[in-house]
Every structure is written in C-alpha cells, then in structure tokens.
Symmetry: C2
Subunit: 67 residues, 2 copies
Amino acid sequence: MQVNNKVREMRQARHITQVKMAEELGITRQTINAIEKGRYNPSLELAFRLLAYFDVPFEQLFYIEEE
Amino acid sequence: MQVNNKVREMRQARHITQVKMAEELGITRQTINAIEKGRYNPSLELAFRLLAYFDVPFEQLFYIEEE
DNA sequence: TATTGGTGTAAAGGTACCTTTACACGTGGA
DNA sequence: TCCACGTGTAAAGGTACCTTTACACCAATA
C-alpha cells in the first residue's frame, strides 16, 4: 500500500513555484520537493495545510497505489 | 493548528475493542490508544487504513481544532 | 477472592518526517 | 558571458510515529 499525491499537478496548474509555495506554507522547499517526488508522505497536519492551500478535498490530493 | 480524530467514537459505535481493532489492522493496541488519546497523529498511510477500516470519508474521521 | 477483559501508559529502539545548510544542473534573459 | 530562477538532492540533526515488552488499574464474573 503506497500513498501518492497530486501536489505537483496542483501546484503547476496554479503556476506556483516550489519556493513561493514553501514560503506561503511556512515550510521548506525541500519538504515540498520530497513530497512531490514521493520520497516521503506528509504528516497528517501538513496534509491538512496542503488541502487548505489548494482548497481541494482530501480525495483530490491523496490517493492509494495498491500493491 | 491541531489535528483531531473520531477514532474512538467510530470504534465504540461499532462495538470493537482496541485489541480486536489492532489485530484486524495489523498494528499495535498502543498505537490505537495513542491516536485516540491524541498523543500523536497517525501517518498518512495509517490514516488511509483507518478510513478503509471504518469505511468513512476523510472529513468524517479527521478534523482541525483551530488555535 | 481470584481471574479475565478492556484500557492507560512508560521505556527503549527503529524508521519516517522536517529542518538547516549546502552544492549542483539546466534554462532564459541582460 | 553572466546571472537569476526553478528545481534536484545530500548530509546532519531534531522530533514524531510505531514497535516490543512490560506493568498497572478498574469492572465484571466465577
């Protein structure tokens, strides 16, 4: 069971850079990059902040890649 | 910003013990207890497993307690 | 009384998440 | 060419998540 996300798609659709997004979210660019690249999953708290940032429901940003 | 959950309510509404739930989810009872008591938030992956276990949408199990 | 079931919690160890600092590469514009 | 911008990634350190092992308390029941 693998959690995937659409952070990169959402971000690019809004023409926002990783830098700008990191500043607005108050996290580091490295964290955004790692999440976009699937190196690790965000914490539940950061997940909530991402939902609010993109203003989308949970299911639209995170999904399961079955094994 | 504080993430809260309704794991205990969901579990009790289904008359399931922490022990049984832990076994069925393949995690430890301590983890369930800690999440119910708010000692820490589940990882995103475990959050997904909890949603599937209770068969509820994200918003019904997790919510934000604003500061 | 003794036992069982359900729950609360602590300590120690491993891994995941997130930070700071830093270096690197490609592209586009001055 | 030079520089700025956007992105990728690594290393080290701190905290959060989750495990195993263990002990404890309370309520119900034999």
